[in-house]
Symmetry: C2
Subunit: 336 residues, 2 copies
């Protein structure tokens, strides 16, 4: 079974993907860290992943063999699949859709024990180029409304393999969180005729309390209403709704690689290599959002447990203020 189902109250879609269905007693085992000696993402083990979709590799190397530095493959256990035909139907009072979509893995490096914080800037740049290539290709599929690129680092953040990798899931609907951001930024724009994200950037540059650092093109902040200790956002200083627009700006890609390198190094140094989730929020493939949506990256360090109050209300309790978090992450050379 691989299908999308909609909660009839909140209108939140879920993916029910029980191909890999576990028996009740299997869950405990899963939580134990099993760092196998065999890693499907290592050099020489290319045969053990599904066939690569794209790879950045030496000119004289052949696909699905060594010689690559970034490699994109289909997820072996996809949550969605573009082989499915997109079909929408009602089931009693409920709404259902077939599990159409894409689920891919971006293998960030052949080095099993590397981490983003230690990678050369050029390698990070290549990872971003891999994101962009797949993003721009998948958006051409008219059935796809949104592409979520994300990275889970560390077991507590949900990574099942240690080898550095990111993922991409492309969905036939606009996810509820993106919808909320769009609705929120639209209502702000309707009221003020300005982009709320641009206003946040200006406010932060004025307040100076929550800006970790900025580069030529990006600003790194601890957001005013941060949900998690050390929650961090990266925003392009210049308004743009579309992550894909970087494709035509190699200098921006380079600057983003620099930004990611600096912030992950800070996390590593100041927070002792924390587990984190990182995701890119960008415009869905719908016209009309150009003026008020603003693409950005959110990084959520996973240092605390999310419990009943948060799940029940959507209301988070954060024991580290963003001002404190910022002063913990900042270094002298960052002073604005």
């Amino acid at each position: 079974m691989m299908e999308l189902r909609k909660d009839p109250i909140i209108k939140r879609w879920v993916i029910i993907s029980s191909e890999r269905s576990k028996r009740p007693m299997d869950f405990k085992k899963q939580q134990q860290k099993t760092e196998n000696s065999f890693c499907p993402f290592d050099y020489g083990n290319e045969y053990s992943t599904p066939e690569e979709i794209i790879a950045f590799r030496d000119a004289n190397s052949t696909p699905n063999s060594p010689g690559w530095w970034v490699r994109v493959v289909p997820n072996k256990f996809p949550a969605l699949d573009s082989e499915n035909k997109l079909k929408k139907q009602g089931v009693g009072i409920y709404d259902q859709m077939s599990g159409y979509g894409y689920h891919e893995v971006i293998i960030e490096t052949p080095q099993h024990n590397a981490k983003l914080a230690d990678m050369p800037m050029d390698q990070i740049k290549e990872i971003i180029w891999a994101y962009l290539k797949r993003f721009q290709t998948i958006r051409k599929d008219e059935n796809i409304k949104y592409v979520q690129i994300f990275k889970n680092k560390g077991e507590e953040a949900g990574a099942s393999l240690l080898h550095p990798h990111s993922q991409l899931i492309a969905t036939p609907i606009v996810p509820i969180t993106i919808k909320s951001e769009i609705e929120g930024s639209k209502s702000y724009y309707d009221f003020r005729e300005r982009c709320v994200y641009c206003d946040i950037i200006n406010q932060e540059l004025k307040d100076k309390q929550r800006v970790v650092f900025k580069t030529d093109e990006f600003i790194v902040i601890e957001p005013y209403a941060s949900r998690f200790p050390y929650e961090t956002w990266i925003l392009p200083l210049k308004h743009s709704h579309d992550f894909g627009s970087l494709e035509n700006n190699p200098a921006s890609v380079e600057d983003l690689a620099k930004t990611l390198s600096i912030i992950t190094k800070r996390f590593d140094k100041k927070l002792d290599d924390p587990p984190f989730n990182l995701f890119i929020h960008t415009s869905p493939f719908i016209d009309g959002l150009e003026l008020y949506y603003h693409w950005h990256i959110e990084i959520l360090p996973r240092l605390t447990n999310v419990a009943g109050f948060e799940w029940g209300t959507g209301f988070h309790i954060n024991h580290v203020s963003p001002e404190q978090a910022c002063s913990d992450l900042i270094e002298e050379k960052d002073i604005l």
Copy 2:
């Protein structure tokens, strides 16, 4: 610092409560299970909690000493406090509110190693009565818009103490998740002139695939668009928007105790005593929701990690279909 801050995009409030602020390196330690020999919730240790608010205790016992069977105390490290004056203000482009509210702990039993699944039904009934007493008292505070009662069981579900307890947090605003449920059920009602939750109950009773069991007054289902393996909802069969209305229906309280006892026993037996979050969703203290809101309990077993895709999109991937979950939890005597 103890304040509420609003995300200017999604309009999601957070509580920044840095009284207990941790230094960056403290987080790792916190994750290690430290089951101290001293438990502030044990018999004889009543002096080590803040003074009790209410307790069900022997007539000849005195407050803050043994002789109780359920005890409600203020949280020693409250996220919100009714000593704060409620104050709302703008901070640049942001919105802020003082940390007004209530944060209480319901100590469910003097028995340190007990669990809900093993408690006598009468004890569970007493816990529900404690919920109700505090719920009905706090709602009289005009500054309070919502009371969230919840329980975290197990370390993975965010419980920092093993001793069985629930919590209550009362907030001066309606939390975003409750708002979404209200908006969703209102738009359903506007369209169909029926309560969406009542329609769900009818659909489930017809489909029979996701009903774990029902009692005289409650139905226990695995929801159609469940986010988590074995996510379970308990709904009153008879429409009611207000958990507090149970106060006048001792038979309903008894039936709810029975329902909670059965489902936690099932979890214990079929899922090997899983960690879970349990919370009561009920109407905020606002008029006009009587016809379309329907109070209920949600239980989220915490068997899987929530990772970047879920945090980025609000979209969950569930590897156990609710139909499968139901057939795992059901017993022969439940057949409808």
